[in-house]
Structures are given as C-alpha cells and as structure tokens.
Symmetry: C2
Subunit: 329 residues, 2 copies
Amino acid sequence: MNDVAKLAGVGTMTVSRVLSGSVRVSEETAKRVHEAIAKLNYRPNEVARALRERHSRQIGILVPNLLDPFFAICAHTISETANEHGYSVIIATHAADADKEFTEASRMLRRQVEGLIVIPADEGPSRITPAEFRNLPVVTLDRPIEGSPYDTVVVENKFGAQLGVNHLIEHGHKRIAFFGLSRTMHTIKLRYEGYREAMRHAGLQTEAYYGNGTQEEMLTAIQSIFAGKTPPTAIFCSNNLIARNAFHALSYMQIKIPETVALVGFDDFETANILNPALTVVRQPITEMARIGATLLFSQLRSKETAVQGKTTVLPVELVVRDSCGTHP
Amino acid sequence: MNDVAKLAGVGTMTVSRVLSGSVRVSEETAKRVHEAIAKLNYRPNEVARALRERHSRQIGILVPNLLDPFFAICAHTISETANEHGYSVIIATHAADADKEFTEASRMLRRQVEGLIVIPADEGPSRITPAEFRNLPVVTLDRPIEGSPYDTVVVENKFGAQLGVNHLIEHGHKRIAFFGLSRTMHTIKLRYEGYREAMRHAGLQTEAYYGNGTQEEMLTAIQSIFAGKTPPTAIFCSNNLIARNAFHALSYMQIKIPETVALVGFDDFETANILNPALTVVRQPITEMARIGATLLFSQLRSKETAVQGKTTVLPVELVVRDSCGTHP
DNA sequence: CTGTTAGCGCCTTCAG
DNA sequence: CTGAAGGCGCTAACAG
C-alpha cells in the first residue's frame, strides 16, 4: 500500500480511501491511485484490515462431513449465501465427534470468525455453548444443541415420519418396521416418535431395528428379519443411508418391492427416482434450511446482537410418492 | 494477551512464548500463565499472528460446487488433509465460470491464503495464472489449467474410456454410442478420444451425442435415438450425471438394460450398485486424487518454492464390472 | 529465563 | 479533500 501511495504521489490514507470508497476523493487523485494499483498489481491485505477493523468478514461452517449429500448441500448453500453478503467461509468437519467439534469451533474463533453455522455432532454433549464462546453468534441446522440458546432451523421430523408411515398404513400395511440408524441421534429419535404415534393411532404394534449403517450389516439384518414367519410388509427408513442400504439388501435378496415389502425413506436423494422401483420419500427442504440458517446468522451480525432467545424455525416436509409402495390405495 | 500477562505478572512475550512453546519458559511461570489464560478464557488472535508472522496457515479450495459428490469428496478430503497439517481451509465455488473463479481466487489471495487447490472452471480460459497470482502455490485437480505451470493431479481419462468401451466391445457390441455432456470439457474430450480409439481399433464406427444434462433432455434424446431403425446396442456415458440420466431415461422407456442396451459409466457413485441392474463403471480414485493434490501443495509450502515445472500426476482408474453389460462374454 | 522495542498492513482520528 | 500519528494483537530481534 505504501508503494502504491508513493507511485501515485499520495499518502497511504488516500489509497485506503480510494479502496474503501468511504470518503470522497478527488477524481484525478483516484485515477492516479487506480493506475498505481493496477501497475503494481496491488491487493489489499484482508488480514491487516481484519485486525484493524476487528471484524473478519468470515464465518465458519462446521458439519459432520461433506460426503453425505445432505451436509454437502448445506455447506454449498451457506457458502453461496455468505458470498452474497461479502463474507468468506471457513469449513471444517467434526465427524460427529463432540470433542472435534469443540476443537474446530475454537480454532475458528481464534481466526476471528464473526459467526458459526453448525450441524451439531450428535453423540455426546456439545461443548459449543455461550459459556465457552461468549458473544459468538451461532446458528445450528438440522438439530439443536441441547440446552443452548442458539437459533436453530430444523424440519418437521416427527410429522414427516407420521406422513410416511400413514402413507404405508393407507396402503393397508399392518406390520410396518422402523429402521433407525442410531438410537441417540436427535432426528432419528423424533422420527421414531412420529412412527410410534402413527402406529399407535392406527392400533398397530411397533417394531424397530437400529444400526445397519453399512450394506453388509443391513443385508444380515434383512436376512434374519425375513427368515422369521411373519416379516414386516413395509419398512420406514429413518434416513437416506438406511433407505439405500435397505433397498440394496432387499434387491440383493430378490425380495420384491413393493409386492413383498413396501418402502418409504426419510430424506430425498439424487438417485431416488432412478431406482427400480423409484423410492417414495419424505423430502426435506435442505437448501431452504441452509439458506434460512445463513440468513438468520447474517441478520444477527447486522444487528450486532447475539440471539439469546434461541428461536427454532421448523420447516415443512413433503411426501414424494413414487413407486416403492405400490399404487395409491 | 495483555490482560493475561498482567494477571500472571509477566510480560506479553512470556505469554507468547508459553503459547508457542518455541522458547523454554520456567515451569512455574508457565503455570501461572496457563492459569491466567484459563481464568480469562483467553484465545490467541490468529489474525494478528498471521499479520505478524506473514503466513496465515490457511489454504483455499476452489471447486465448481459442492453438490456433485465428486467435488464434495474432493473438498472433504482436502479439508481433512489440511487439518492434519494444522491449516484451515477457505472454500468457495465458481459454478464453472472462469470470471467467478478469478474473483474468488483473488479474494482468497487478499485473505493471504498460502496456497490454492482448484478444480478449474472448464468453460473459457482460466485466469488463475502466475502472472496474476505471482508466487502463490497452486495445485489443480481433475483437469489442468491450460498453459499454466501448476502441479496437477488427474486420472487416466483416455485409458479409462478405452477400458470401458473395450468391455462393451468384448461383449460383442458393434454399435456403441458415446454420451458426452459438453464438447468443451477437458475430461470429456479425453474420454471421447479414448472411446474413439477403442472403436477405431475394433474397426467400429463412432456415434456421439452431447448435452442431456437434465433428465428431461436425456429422455427426449433417448426417445429420438431409439426411434431410429438401428439404435445403438450399448452406450458409454462420459460422467456420472450422464450415466444417471441415461439410466433414468432407459428405465422410463422400459428399454431393457443390458438386454436391449448395455451401459457403462465413467465415475462411480454411491448408488451405482443399488440400481437395477447395478451399473458397471470406470471408477476414479477421487479421495486419493484429492489427498495427493493436497500433499503436493503442502510439500510446496514446506519447501517454500512454488512448483514452476507443472508436474502432472496421473492416477489409474479401474473397471468395476457389475450387471449393466450382462455377464462376461 | 524474561522484558523491551519495533513493526506486520491497515484504518480511525484528528489536523491541516 | 488530504496527510500524519497511533494502534489493532502479536512476535522477531535484541537486551538484560
């Protein structure tokens, strides 16, 4: 910047002003400065600026990983939204580990991020709390941080499950199994509740299976379940991984969908409609969720006050009927 | 930091030294400092440190988007590798637009990233060049930046296509169509070359279709192609999007795979093996590519010299035979 | 082993 | 409209 100033024959402040446009500078001077900038290929140092201005124009995104399309879509959308606001994003993954989550959040704070958008680790108590991160605006997505006062954006997990299960019930199914991933995951628990209520309301008995996060485990589970005398005639899958694994195992075992078992998944995915049969799912508005979360954060940044109320925004889900439950009753 | 120093009754330098561990500090003093840090919940300001030390411990990742699992896997792997090196990552997307690519790279440079890993925009000449970004270490993934001296990591695109097409030829197919996405994409061009050579080598005529990036377009294309008198008996799909769209259209039209048409895709994806029939693909080592690229960048950072030679690392691909071509001949 | 001085690149404040 | 001084939080270099 000094070089630019010297070349343009002005003081550094003039250069600074030309760049920020905050104060009027005579046109001619501005032109000289611009020429000098171009000649020297000068780029302002945002680090110095951040230090001086005490805000980094940077937010942090903390997700379990970027391999699950659900998280990747969130990260993508947040990143784009941040860009529209002139912010950069730092991304880190916590692999569903609360310690890693805390470590990464701390690192981001040291980097002076102005806010955090996090899809919390689901195992163990999160250590992202106002006690640790005083003043730092945080918005959580997909699930809240238990007992924290942060704004959060989630979907109608329970209602969505009811929607899906009722769809199955309307098709006349009596034995409908719930396939969970982990008993401890917030979203899965809510979806199970929805399942249970729908079943109870219809006077049906519940039947839940957990785990089966890999194709192999699922195959074993399906084999044992369908070796019984009265296997379920329908399965409600609690997330897209479980749905894919179930679909795979059923196809592999040549168990007919929907003739022998009907299938409904929670969370739509790219290839759901090219499966054979195409999978009926409860769709979550992922992009919208991420955008709303980011917008929430930026409005906190603008108003310069961290939300202390912890507003929860619940987004609607939608049943996408395809072919894995047969035709409409 | 001043507060910490005061509370511990030492100078700021002592605090600094305790934190960095660079110089020995007496144990007792160190303890007092640590206590003060804990009491005040002090976190060092990385922005100030970066300004002073003139390196940010931050790299930039620039990808077209995070929606395509291929890019998301790359970003994920780079992010994890960077973390292992104690670096943070800034991520931005360029939506395959060379201007946006340039803008985002510039923004990252202003933020003093120490290096860039980029999956270049494929349309238009990239403006990420040493002329614009003097000294900045850059590694490109998936495709090179034309005429740039940057290290790059790619896969055997041409050979992979030959592998896939030969597999089809071995199954006795004579009319094998190539489904491209864009004529201008570097990877697609190479894959087309592989296709062409394999066909020529077998004395077969080529037949290529481009576009069809949406399910609707693909459906129209497939309808018109299969309305002809001698439609192809096999299709080689140049990437995972095209493969999925083709699969969808074929299923929708109830054209039997592999009986009526055999299908091979380039680039494996999550659900490829739960399709019915499971899709035979040429698999690229995505994670390995990203990890090698990141490692390359970090070794440049360590050696403090930007690669000027532009080393190209070519990674092997692998044919994953599943069911979309029928049984082995 | 510890403290002092100076300055990284920028912008706020105050003078001109 | 423009420039000079000072300091954001930190650490390299030097001194003690």
